[in-house]
Symmetry: C2
Subunit: 225 residues, 2 copies
């Protein structure tokens, strides 16, 4: 039996790239070159080719539109509401990644007139249902931050507990109690002490790093399956 | 600009229903009525209609093939390898649910000649890449079991710590140390004591229940977004 020839939805991928920049949680957006939503900001993405996997499509679109490559993507969620694209039925598979801002240098490629880092707390109007997709990605990022070592992508190799707390506060958008934060993060078994200290004004502060096994778990979960 | 008229993949949904039955972790499968893989066991599922959301399609296919309804599905993962279906390019969005076995009564509907509960530890040969999809679902179930109150669907309203440990051992397929298990599960803030005890032979055993807020978190995560 061949595949049904009933009408098929189109399938796209969208790629959400988060970073910490300027003490802010930012996301990489492109300004669309073509209708619909011409000149409106959007999450980078596009149609899945018939001969490429979803992840291949995500990486290709990311590079075509922003010049960014070599990013480890994790599948986020597939959005398939019937009316989410005015052109017809479009199902989109969303991916996301956390990157150190210094690691990439975005520039507008085809289908985009501009790329830019935008604060997730001060977004421009977005095309399609991209505001909802981004809100969901942020929710998942926050959830993962509390349970996994996902933050290793956003921080340098070693950091003080104060620096880690500052990063968590930016992402969770919440002032954290210092003692509770330390108890919780140390109890979560995702970071460990080093023998190094940050010196400067005041008392030297112990430097920590993410545990190798916790980082390995995050990396393992990115890959299919 | 209309949607591209380049070739489009087909999109299906697959629905993995887990339960605890006979001290075993089991999954609901159907035996396929039509080619390809005629008479081979498979995860229930089928093509997404152009006018239904992914979740509507998943619930419809589940009911059509197994008679099962009113199940809370959670989106698992979207599988889109190029060669996963010999008929052509097919992307499938997998959903999963945990149900108490007594809550549903499966029976073969259209596209299936038979339904059955199968031990995840003793599966028949499966159609397509369904063995891989199931292996991934099991991995995710185990991960969720350690971090969330997802087990509330599989256990009665109140249970002893020994009963809970037995359920975890079946799902994780691992003998757990009693003291470590108790420390970890009580530390995870997902269950709480009741004032009730199970009496019988030996000492009365305290009954526990899943915390309302932990169950609410599991339920919230099932829904989009």
């Amino acid at each position: 039996m061949p595949l049904k020839d009933s009408p098929r939805p189109s399938v796209t991928v969208d790629v959400i790239i988060f970073t910490l920049r300027d003490s802010d949680l930012q996301v990489l957006l492109i300004r669309r070159k073509y209708p619909p939503f011409e000149a409106v900001w959007a999450i980078p993405g596009g149609f899945v080719g018939i001969d490429e996997s979803l992840e291949e499509a995500a990486l290709r679109e990311l590079e075509e539109e922003t010049g960014v490559r070599d990013v480890y993507l994790e599948q986020l969620y597939t959005f398939g509401e019937v009316d989410r694209d005015l052109r017809g039925r479009v199902i989109t598979v969303a991916y996301f990644a956390l990157v150190p801002a210094a690691a990439i240098d975005p520039h507008a490629g085809s289908d985009a007139t501009e790329t830019g880092w935008w604060s997730v707390y001060d977004l421009p109007p977005l095309a399609f249902d991209h505001a909802e997709i981004l809100a969901y990605a942020l929710k998942r990022l926050r959830y993962k931050l509390e349970y996994t070592a996902v933050g290793f992508e956003l921080l340098p190799g070693v950091f003080t507990l104060s620096e880690l707390q500052a990063a968590y506060e930016i992402i969770l958008r919440e002032k954290l109690d210092k003692r509770n934060f330390r108890r919780k993060i140390l109890g979560a078994d995702i970071i460990e002490e080093t023998e190094m200290y940050r010196t400067g004004e005041g008392r030297p502060a112990r430097l920590y790093r993410f545990r190798d096994d916790a980082v390995a778990e995050v990396k393992a979960r990115r890959l299919f399956p």
